[in-house]
């Protein structure tokens, strides 16, 4: 699908919702839902995307949509999808319908991990999209297991005795890959073509598909609202957030900056949440972050068979 085709498709998330200016979650949701021309039923975990798009009596969703609770976007969708399979079998529904669950990193990496794991293991024909903004943003920027090492959050505040979060980010995409589902990917909204292609593939896949999408957050990360896609791009160019996919257990790297790989400081220095790391006493923290990124990147390249 090219840009021209895309431009004539109707958006499935209406404007006028109350997400922050520059929020990546709505960009991601719109691109993902444009990736199929089939009808969609969506679920949403409690979080920014949910609360800001459905303040009663308004809704921004042009597709059937359900929010149940924080930790069960996947399990809820598994019930909807099963209902669909049964009704289709019984001849009560003829249409070919696609199913997509959205969740933030809180609802996916943490509280919803079990619900996601169960849904993937059972093999439901659904797509799960994690918009990963790297903290509990909806409740006011508390750390999640996705929050990077050294981040200043409300529950890992910097202080005399703390440089911020003391743990590295959970590798959820690899955790999902461990379920050996047909399709797993990591994507970024700055590369809309890549995200769109991955979403298209995910919808076309029979069985569960999962896409983890980096979702820069203006208030949570601390950068000007027009820089969202730059933030996403820098996460990719520094190899902090590599773009890759796993199809039938084969790992494929989708983007390699090669010798243009940027140092992690190029990403860190643009955000208020990392500002404290540039104090002289935290030089070793930045060093550890760089070492961690490099190690993960090498490991990923090896896994993808890239030299």
């Amino acid at each position: 699908m090219n840009l021209k085709d895309l431009s004539i498709r109707e958006d499935r998330l209406a404007p006028g919702h109350r997400l922050c200016p520059g929020c990546a979650a709505s960009i991601i949701a719109r691109i993902v839902m444009l990736a199929t021309d089939k009808p969609i039923v969506a679920t949403c975990a409690t979080g920014c995307l949910e609360v800001s798009t459905t303040i009663y009596p308004y809704t921004a969703w042009k597709v059937p949509w359900m929010h149940n609770a924080f930790e069960n976007s996947a399990a809820t969708l598994s019930g909807i999808e099963t209902a669909y399979q049964v009704m289709k079998k019984k001849g009560k529904i003829q249409k070919d319908i696609k199913f997509v669950a959205f969740g933030g990193d809180g609802g996916t990496y943490d509280i919803g991990l079990q619900s996601l794991s169960g849904t993937l293991e059972r093999g439901h024909d659904i797509v799960y999209i994690c918009y990963d903004n790297e903290a509990y943003m909806n409740t006011g920027v508390q750390r999640s297991s996705s929050t990077p090492y050294g981040t200043d959050t409300k529950t890992t505040p910097t202080g005399k005795a703390s440089f911020g979060k003391d743990q590295f980010k959970k590798d959820l995409t690899a955790v999902v890959a461990g379920h050996h589902i047909p399709y797993v990917a990591q994507a970024s909204p700055h590369n809309y073509n890549d995200l769109l292609r991955k979403a298209e593939k995910a919808f076309a896949t029979k069985g569960p598909a999962f896409i983890n999408v980096i979702s820069p957050c203006v208030p949570g990360w601390g950068y000007p609202s027009e820089k969202t896609l730059t933030m996403a791009k820098l996460a990719v160019e520094t190899c902090f957030w590599p773009l890759y996919h796993i199809e039938d257990d084969v790992w494929i790297l989708d983007y390699d900056p090669k010798d243009k790989k940027l140092p992690i400081t190029e990403w860190l220095k643009t955000q208020a949440r990392f500002r404290h790391l540039f104090k002289p006493e935290n030089a070793d923290v930045i060093k550890r972050i760089q070492e961690h990124v490099d190690k993960d990147w090498d490991k990923l390249k090896k896994q993808c068979g890239v030299k």
């Binding site: 059937p64 949509w65 019930g79 909807i80 049964v86 319908i97 619900s115 849904t119």
Partner: protein
């Protein structure tokens, strides 16, 4: 059952009887997670699925939380949905139990009553379902296997017509695992009674997209809760409608309460579930001795039939309410507080509470007889203790 009826009966446990009801209802989706003593329902239903005797899908989820979450999804999609659980399983569902009710999704959940942890215990009491008596679900309690079976079929139609989910409860092990003669209705009759189901605004109607479960703040939330409250209150009328249809179809009466040697009794026990069977045996014996004792069995606990009970119980001299669960820090068990509240405007009867049978502690005819004897004395004596404990040491 008379000899004629016994010939038509099958030997089934309560759990198997409920599984047969589920087979006959043939729901579209059954998301469930095994927990003792609910397991036997799941085993029997899973076998029906494996043998191709039902057309719906069993989703073997990874937890009760996901079981109820998938129930909400499937029911919101427009499917007919059932599940089953016990004790800690119900506790794990708790958050979504409330959501199911607020979305007015008519899910039928068989609750095989078991004591809540802690300490962990697998045997019967009502702490699990009583704990969510304010969740917005309707609740019915079955005395025996036959009732558990009939109530399940009744509940499906009741829930769908009222647009409110229902817990249909039976006593763990005592009812779920004991084998009794059960008369199953004709499959086709059940099918005809239940009829087809389609949700009002199903998610799968993609041409009419709906948003379910939006953020609802101070400007609307209260009105929605008020309507929910009105809905469950009005469900009592629907209960009577469905009961009439049930009687017409199957020749079986289901009422919100059942009276046993009640009308001329001046000394009365109010109870629920399998304990009513024990009370009936005791009453038979005591009646032979010329004692005017009787039983009022409560079948519908939510919506609570306060008005009906007020009419039924007024004029009685002394009533003992038997609660198979504790309400810590409250003035008596849940059934007791409901009944005392219902009777407040009446001059009588005197009402006392007995909490019994926690964690599966045995209750026998001797204990029921002791209650009757003890409360008989309250007709003239002053009641010094309103909340008493039955069958506990110390």
């Amino acid at each position: 059952m008379n000899t004629q009826e016994l010939k038509k009966a099958q030997a089934l446990s309560g759990a198997e009887a409920v599984a047969h009801a589920m087979r006959q209802i043939d729901p579209d989706v059954v998301p469930a997670y095994p927990i003792t003593p609910q397991t036997d329902i799941m085993h029997a239903f899973a076998k029906f699925v494996s043998d191709g005797k039902v057309t719906g899908e069993l989703i073997c989820v990874e937890s009760e939380h996901s079981a109820m979450s998938a129930c909400v999804g499937a029911s919101g999609a427009g499917a007919r949905v059932m599940t089953a659980t016990s004790a800690n399983g119900l506790a794990l569902m708790w958050e979504i139990v409330y959501i199911a009710a607020s979305l007015r999704l008519p899910i039928v959940m068989s609750v095989v009553n078991r004591a809540l942890s802690g300490p962990i215990n697998i045997h019967c009491d009502h702490s699990d379902s009583m704990g969510c008596r304010d969740s917005g679900w309707m609740q019915m309690y079955a005395e025996n296997n036959q009732e558990a079976y009939e109530q399940t079929i009744f509940s499906m139609k009741f829930a769908e017509r009222a647009k409110i989910p229902i817990m249909t409860c039976m006593d763990g092990f005592i009812t779920s695992h004991a084998v009794e003669p059960v008369i199953l209705f004709d499959d086709a009759k059940v099918k005809a009674f239940i009829g087809d189901y389609r949700g009002d605004w199903p998610l799968l109607d993609v041409d009419k997209p709906v948003t379910m479960g939006p953020l609802d703040l101070f400007d609307y939330y209260f009105e929605h809760k008020r309507k929910q409250s009105e809905g469950i209150y009005l469900a009592k009328n629907i209960f009577n409608e469905v009961a009439e249809e049930f009687d017409r179809t199957f020749g079986t009466k289901i009422d919100v309460v059942e009276k046993y040697f009640f009308d001329d009794a001046d000394t009365v026990i109010v109870a629920m579930s399998s304990t009513c069977g024990t009370a009936k045996v005791t009453i038979d014996k005591m009646r032979k001795e010329g004692k005017k004792v009787g039983l009022l069995k409560i079948r519908l606990f939510r919506p609570f039939p306060s008005w009906e009970l007020r009419q039924i119980l007024k004029g009685k001299k002394i009533v003992a309410v038997l609660d198979r669960s504790e309400s810590f820090g409250a003035f008596g068990g849940p059934l007791f507080t409901e009944i005392r509240s219902a009777m407040y405007e009446e001059k009588g009867p005197k009402i006392v509470n007995y909490i019994f049978g926690l964690g599966g502690r045995e209750i026998d005819a001797g204990m029921i007889e002791r209650v009757f004897t003890e409360i008989d004395a309250y007709k003239t004596n002053e009641i010094k203790e309103y909340v008493k404990y039955l069958g506990v040491r110390g």
